[in-house]
Structure formats: structure tokens, C-alpha cells
């Protein structure tokens, strides 16, 4: 069981990390989702124990499954869900303003913006970078 868990966590994390290195923002977002779910699965794996349901009354002599990790993973799932939603909305915001999902295009647009700013501040080698 532990081996199965560790294999799944490894594959999920590896795939996620690979996707994070892409230029396409949707793939990056998918990578973030995969990586955070790998972490959730890891939490479950950290408290992997066989036993009865941890609800009182507990039949005498039986070992109990660890309830702490389940509480932890619930919280972690909610957090990763929220962050993924936030990331996707940010990606959508980028798409609506640039009609592109490529991180390179975004840097290009940024550079144009700062070059325009620099041009308007002629003769200054070092400045605030964005005006007062």
C-alpha cells in the first residue's frame, strides 16, 4: 500500500513539475493542480494505518485509523482548491487583456511597456522605473 501511494505521489508530482516548466499558462495551472494534489495524497500517506473508524465508542482492543491526517488533508484540499481557482482567474485575466496564454508574450508586452516608460523619461539612466 505504501509503495502504491509513493508511486502515485511520485508520478503526480513529476508530471506536475514538468508541466510547471511550460510556457503555456493553462499547462502551468494544470501543473500547479497536480503538484498540490500530490501533496494532499502525501499527507494521507503520512498517516497510513489500518484500523476501525475513529468514532466513539471504539470497540475494545481494536486499533483506530489515524483521524488527524484526514482532518489535515480536508483543510489542505480546500486551500489548494482556492488557490487553483485564483490562479485560473488570473490566467483568464491575462487572456482577456492579451488574447494570449503564452508567458513569453506577456514578458514581451511588459518590456514594450517599460521601454515606452523609459522613452518618456529620456536622459535618465536610473529612475523609479515607474514614475512617482
Amino acid at each position: 500500500m505504501t509503495l502504491a501511494y509513493s508511486l502515485v505521489v511520485a508520478v503526480l508530482f513529476g508530471t506536475g513539475a514538468y508541466l510547471l516548466l511550460k510556457h503555456d499558462l493553462i499547462r502551468v495551472a494544470a501543473g500547479v493542480v497536480l503538484v498540490s494534489n500530490a501533496a494532499n495524497l502525501f499527507i494521507i500517506a503520512a498517516g497510513l494505518s489500518r484500523g476501525v473508524v475513529p468514532v466513539l465508542p471504539i470497540p475494545g482492543g481494536e486499533s483506530v485509523a489515524d483521524p488527524v491526517v484526514q482532518a489535515l488533508v480536508l483543510t489542505a484540499i480546500v486551500i489548494s482548491f482556492g488557490v487553483s481557482a485564483l490562479l485560473l482567474s488570473l490566467v483568464y485575466r491575462v487572456y482577456t487583456s492579451h488574447l494570449s496564454l503564452d508567458l513569453e508574450d506577456l514578458s514581451g508586452a511588459d518590456e514594450e511597456e517599460s521601454e515606452q516608460e523609459l522613452a518618456s523619461l529620456t536622459g535618465r539612466s536610473i529612475g523609479t522605473g515607474r514614475g512617482a
Partner: protein, 459 residues
């Protein structure tokens, strides 16, 4: 008592998120809530200095069942520092014009998360509050909503999410290894558990906090984000949010002392590389905010060096330097875009402080590390502190020179438009604070001493 500073901000943040933050009145509500929280933290700090550690289990649950809040001097000091910086940055933005309705609420949420993670005594709640602060920061990084801010926000969110996930995995690992999430219990049990997995976990925790701080091999996101965000947000990120990194390194480093000692050469090496790399990058940067961003990379190197040196003196120095550095960075990010009378003086003070020249507070920050290095007999580190200070002296005065001595073509044509006096006086107060600490450093040194004693005694 313990819940008060946290609760005030939490309630305020929820209420504020329903209001339109672009109105100045709403902004002042946020400033008021932050001020109340700061006062609460000061009262708490005085109480803890007199009576020792404060503990409380939320909701009257039994010890070990409910959510544990625990505050020693280190916790409250860092909470106070972070909320103080957020208070100044929020006031700065409110005195101008707030451009987004969510800004005051987000500032309060970030402060809530930062207080929470300092006051909690439990590794998982540390993660939860850490995420509350981070999520607020993710949204704030996009504040301004121009291409540059959007790009900064995307880079910031992706890199830091990876850091958070690493931290979450190591918290789960700590639970698996020690069977508890209570930081005090972990500190007790970590010395008797198997060392190999503990080293692995310590490495992951280090990487997670190093990403937050922007230490050398993990710095790649920092320059784009700090130069891309607006000044108030950059001040919050570098003066408050980065405290997660320094506080986390100090807290978890003292929780796992055996692993810290093994990792000490790595900390020293990475710290040195950070100082030199940050210094040279700052020298060749083309805009003032870029100089500041790279200077942040260099300055956090000193915290790593202090931790790597080890021992009581070095721990005190690490705490003192983290505080001084956070105030310096907040001051600089807020001061650089300003124009008009007094601003030159403010920048000069901040520059002296970063370079570590008396009578500014930065002098005592560096002096502590210097003394720890001398006590530990590390000539290389001593030389490095000199080189680092020299570099920072040069790049800080490059900013000063370009901003105040060479009048640009545009300015000579149109004349300088000064910033409103309210903003300037606010930053002036912060600069005065830096000088006062430099002239009368005893309270801060005493505070760092007590904080170091508290963490060394356990939790």
C-alpha cells in the same frame, strides 16, 4: 488576550471585503483595525516580557485537541514587525489613492495570516496561516492590473505555490516522523528519531522558506515581482511577507537544532553567494526598484550567515538583523517613488542603514553578525561582511546620485512635482524610527536577546 490582535484583524478583513475599498473612509477603517492590532500586540509583548510565554487553546478544548496558540517573545516580535510594516504601507496607499476595492481587506487578511503563523504553536496551523497571508499577497501582487503587475503576480503565484507545497509535504513528513504537529513536541522528539528522514525534511523546509526569502538559487522570481508591483505592495512583500522566511528559518532551525548544525556549511555558502550575487546585480541594475530588489537578495544572505554560524550570539544577531532589514526595505520601497523636500534625506538615511553606517539601525544589525563571526573565528565571513557592506554602500548611493544629484532632462524642463506632504511625512516618521533605533538600540537588542533566550529554552 492572545486571540485579540488576531481576531480584530480577521473580523475587520471580512467586513472590509464587503465594502468598497476605493473610498478613503474604508481605507481608514483598515488603518484603524491595523493600529488596534498593533496596540494589542504591544500590550501582549510587554505582558510576555514580564510573565513569560502565553498559551491558550482555542474554544476551551483540552490541551492537544484544540487549536493551540502559543506566543513567546520571538513570535510577538515578528508579528509586531509584520503588522507594523503593513500598517505603514496601507496608510501610505490610503493617503494617496486606493485603486482597487479589495486593497484594504487584502492588507488586513495578509496581516491576519502573518500574526496567526507567528502565534500558532502547531506546524499545520502554521501552514494554514501561511497560506492565508500568501493568498492575500498573490492578489495584492496583481494590484494595479497593468501588464507588469499581472506578469509579476503570475510569476509570484507559481513559484511560491511550489514553495508552499514543499512546506506542506514537509509538515506531513514531520507528523509521520514524530507523531505530533505541536512544534514544542516536535522539538523534543526530533532528537530521538531517525536522522536520515529528518535531514531530508529539514532540507525541504529550508527550500520552502528560502523561496519566500529569495536566497540565491531560489531568487529568480524576486526581481520581476518586486519591480513589477506597486510601491506599497512591494513594501508589504519585502517588509512583511518575507518575514515568513526569516521567522520560519529561525523557528524551524531552532526546532531542529541537530539538522541545522549539519546544514550549517550549506547555509554559510548560500548566504555568502547571496550577498555577493545580490550586491553585483544591484550595481548593474538599471532602475531604482531593481537595485532594491537585488539588494534584498543580498541582505537576506546575512540572516543565513548568522544562522549558519550558530550559537547564542549569532541567533541574537539573526533576529536583530531580520527586524532591521524588514524596516529598511519597507522604508526604501516607500521612499524611492517620492519627490520633493525631505525625500533626499530619507533616502540617505535608508541608504546608510542598508550599508550599515552609524548612527542608523543597520549598523547594529551588521555589528551583531560581525561579533558572532569574530567569536566563532571565521575570517572569511568577516571579510565577506565587509565586501557586502561596501557593495551595498556603492549601489545605495548610485540610487541617491541618480535621483537627487543629476536632474533629468524632463525635470529641468517641467520642474519637479512634489508628492503630497502627507505621504512624505509618513515616510519621514519611518525614517526617524530607523534613526532612533540607531541612536538608542538597547530596547531592540534587549528584545532580540529575550527572543533568542525564549527559542533556545524550547518553543
Amino acid at each position: 488576550m492572545l486571540v485579540f490582535p488576531l481576531g480584530v484583524l480577521w473580523v475587520a478583513a471580512v467586513v472590509l471585503s464587503l465594502l468598497d475599498g476605493r473610498r478613503q473612509r474604508v481605507g481608514y477603517l483598515a488603518v484603524g483595525a491595523l493600529t488596534i492590532s498593533v496596540i494589542g500586540l504591544i500590550v501582549l509583548l510587554i505582558d510576555i516580557l514580564n510573565n513569560g510565554r502565553a498559551e491558550q487553546v482555542a474554544g476551551n478544548w483540552a490541551y492537544g485537541v484544540g487549536i493551540q496558540l502559543r506566543a513567546d517573545v520571538l513570535d510577538v516580535t515578528f508579528a509586531l514587525l509584520s503588522v507594523g510594516v503593513i500598517l505603514v504601507a496601507t496608510t501610505y496607499e490610503v493617503l494617496g489613492r486606493v485603486r482597487s476595492r479589495a486593497f484594504p481587506a487584502l492588507a488586513c487578511f495578509m496581516a491576519t495570516g502573518l500574526i496567526g503563523l507567528s502565534l500558532t504553536g502547531d506546524a499545520f496551523n502554521f501552514y494554514v496561516f501561511f497560506e492565508i497571508a500568501m493568498i492575500a499577497a498573490y492578489v495584492l501582487a496583481g494590484y494595479g492590473e497593468r501588464t507588469r503587475q499581472l506578469r509579476a503576480a503570475i510569476i509570484f503565484i507559481i513559484v511560491n505555490l511550489l514553495g508552499s507545497v514543499l512546506f506542506l509535504i514537509s509538515v506531513a513528513g514531520l507528523y509521520h516522523l514524530t507523531g505530533t504537529l505541536d512544534l514544542l513536541e516536535i522539538q523534543r522528539r526530533i532528537t530521538i528519531v531517525d536522522q536520515q528522514p529528518a535531514i531530508l525534511l529539514a532540507t525541504m523546509i529550508f527550500v520552502a522558506f528560502a523561496i519566500k526569502l529569495g536566497i540565491f538559487p531560489f531568487h529568480f522570481w524576486l526581481a520581476a515581482v518586486y519591480t513589477g508591483t506597486r510601491p506599497a505592495v512591494a513594501a508589504m512583500l519585502s517588509g512583511a511577507l518575507a518575514n515568513i522566511g526569516s521567522y520560519g528559518l529561525i523557528r524551524f532551525g531552532t526546532t531542529m537544532p541537530r539538522e541545522l548544525e549539519i546544514g550549517a556549511p550549506v547555509l554559510l555558502a548560500l548566504g555568502s553567494v547571496s550577498i555577493v550575487y545580490g550586491g553585483f546585480q544591484a550595481l548593474s541594475a538599471r532602475s531604482a526598484t531593481e537595485v532594491l530588489a537585488y539588494s534584498s537578495i543580498g541582505q537576506v544572505g546575512y540572516i543565513l550567515i548568522a544562522l549558519g554560524l550558530g550559537g547564542h550570539l549569532a541567533l541574537v544577531a539573526a533576529i536583530l538583523f531580520s527586524i532591521v532589514n524588514a524596516v529598511n526595505k519597507a522604508l526604501l520601497f516607500l521612499a524611492v517613488p517620492l519627490r520633493g523636500w525631505l525625500v533626499g534625506g530619507i533616502i540617505a538615511i535608508a541608504a546608510f542603514s542598508v550599508a550599515g553606517v552609524p548612527p542608523s539601525s543597520g549598523f547594529f544589525g551588521k555589528l551583531g553578525i560581525f561579533r558572532a563571526a569574530v567569536a566563532d573565528d571565521q575570517p572569511l565571513v568577516i571579510a565577506l561582511i565587509f565586501i557586502g557592506s561596501l557593495l551595498s554602500f556603492i549601489y545605495m548611493f548610485q540610487i541617491y546620485n541618480a535621483r537627487f544629484w543629476e536632474i533629468s532632462a524632463e525635470e529641468s524642463r517641467e520642474g519637479v512635482v512634489p508628492t503630497p506632504i502627507a505621504r512624505r511625512s509618513l515616510v519621514c516618521v519611518l525614517a526617524a524610527f530607523v534613526i532612533v533605533i540607531g541612536l538608542w538600540p538597547e530596547p531592540l537588542i534587549y528584545l532580540s536577546e529575550q527572543a533568542a533566550i525564549a527559542v533556545e529554552a524550547g518553543g
